[in-house]
Symmetry: C2
Subunit: 319 residues, 2 copies
């Protein structure tokens, strides 16, 4: 998918390992495990593509930023796994499962700090450091809010869009925005790429939430309805709460922390009987169209193609 940055991404892998390397064996082992456990590298890819759009692309100049974006993402997943007591992620044992909460919490802190250390060493503008620090603030705050507003079906569309923006879209926006800045794109192009990042981020999260409803245990390795079980209402459920003749039954289930597996099945059936799925698909498509339409005309053709492919990939994820 990323021919134009294929080699850049290979270098990135090495730099990620270097970034968490430590003279202390355990720290080194944990850090390496964490940064090499899967990961699609979507965030650094978006950043590298933006920089490739600039006239004087300089891989060494952009690398610390691309690496930091992945480190921040990874550190936040490490802490999420502690919080959710997850045993596996992307088929690999989580840091908390392998080394306990103590090592996982401190390793997450270490990786966050390594990201800020790389950024400071690179000598980017203060705007770069500031946006990254605010990103981490917003990711943390967004999760505190989400986790403390569970089992409350009263939240509507606005709350949902606000939530997925904080959780996903802001991050992808920043990858494009800062990649464009460091890559030396014109401010107007940077704004357009930032808008692209926002839109594919919104589409990505809507799609992710849809998959949680449509997946089968066979395809995904985990049962459907995870969000409902955790008290998180997503777009199709919000729609169903609005239009379903069984809205009250659905509301009773999704607001009940003691819901049974049968309740989850029932809730899924109620949602699927409405147009909730279609509404969500349409919304994701709308965002992806907007994303593609906003790509600066001045981008090199192969960069533009790659960005279009990213958008199409998000739209094509297997329902």
């Amino acid at each position: 998918m990323f021919d134009v940055i294929k080699k850049d991404l290979e270098v990135l892998e090495q730099e990620l390992r270097k970034a968490v390397a430590s003279e202390h064996e355990l720290v080194n082992e944990v850090g390496t495990h964490i940064v090499t456990s899967g990961g699609k590298r979507l965030r650094p890819a978006l950043c590298l593509l933006a920089a490739r759009g600039g006239k004087d692309f300089d891989l060494q100049r952009i690398l610390p930023l691309a690496v930091s974006l992945e480190l921040i993402h990874t550190a936040s997943l490490v802490h999420d796994d502690v919080i959710d007591e997850s045993g596996t992620r992307r088929g690999e044992a989580t840091a908390n499962a392998k080394w306990g909460n103590q090592v996982a919490i401190l390793s997450g802190d270490y990786i966050f700090a390594r990201a800020f250390s790389l950024i400071a060493s690179a000598g980017y503008s203060n705007r770069v450091s500031l946006r990254l620090a605010e990103l981490v603030c917003n990711l943390s705050v967004g999760e505190i809010i989400q986790d403390n507003a569970v089992y409350q079906a009263s939240k509507g569309y606005e709350d949902y869009y606000c939530r997925i923006q904080k959780k996903t879209a802001d991050f992808l926006e920043i990858c494009c925005d800062l990649g464009a800045e460091v890559g030396g794109l014109a401010p107007e192009e940077g704004k357009q790429l930032a808008e692209y990042g926002h839109c594919i981020g919104m589409a990505f999260q809507i799609t992710d939430d849809l998959l949680d409803i449509l997946q089968t245990e066979e395809t995904m390795g985990k049962p459907a309805g995870n969000d409902i079980r955790q008290g998180i209402v997503t777009l199709p459920v919000i729609r169903a709460l609005e239009v379903s003749p069984e809205a009250e039954v659905l509301r009773d289930i999704v607001t009940n922390p003691e819901m049974t597996a049968a309740d989850v099945e029932r809730a899924l059936a109620i949602v699927k009987a409405t147009d909730g799925i279609d509404v969500a698909k349409e919304k994701a498509d709308e965002y992806l169209e907007r994303a593609k339409a906003t790509l600066p005309a001045s981008l090199p053709e192969e960069v533009k193609e790659a960005y279009v492919m990213v958008a199409d990939f998000i739209g094509d994820r297997d329902y």
Copy 2:
């Protein structure tokens, strides 16, 4: 103790609250609780004093740094409390006890990130950002190593000094160093103040470790020998392992994760029967003398006096 920066510290309190303020009620409540639960403000005080040594002291210029130093310290305590499952700190309920691990972990991340956001906004040199990021790396790595080398009495003096440097002395050094830089002191004065910070940090931790051996449950609200119980050997114990006729008994106890309360008592008695306590006190005094001797002659008298008082305070802590 801090007459010369008394008013600065009052402003600092307000700024600390502002730094963690959030439009989200829960985040605001947690953040405020965390930054207002005790805390001697030693780190910002050291930073403010250094800056007060400069010719053109500017409180507004130094405040973001002073606030960030306290935020980083606080965030790391919040994560420590999650790891240690502590219910109280400085007589107040910990964040994990009040709101659970999830909120505490994410609030710690939020507060770390707020510190880096303040630093980026202030537009200090890259060296300031870099040293702070590396500080957080080292604090995390130091704790991973310490917590994974417990119940190993084989570690000697060198390991101990290295450990307390990472845990405490580097932090106090950085407070003085960066305060001097932002305050506009000459590089030579900055180096001397950094050395002062290092020395009082070493003395502070040696004293803290001593208190853990000498305290009684009445004076400190917790039983003595906490470090031994957790498998952490400190200076008096290392000395006793070297000189006590009962060194082997002591070694067997401190390397046994299953040690009983009676074992801890026995270990304390063995340590107290040696000159381990005196050796540690002498070492702390040596560091404090070195700290005072290294203070730049050019400092304003009231700043110098305050720095001397800090050193004396550390030396006078109640054994």
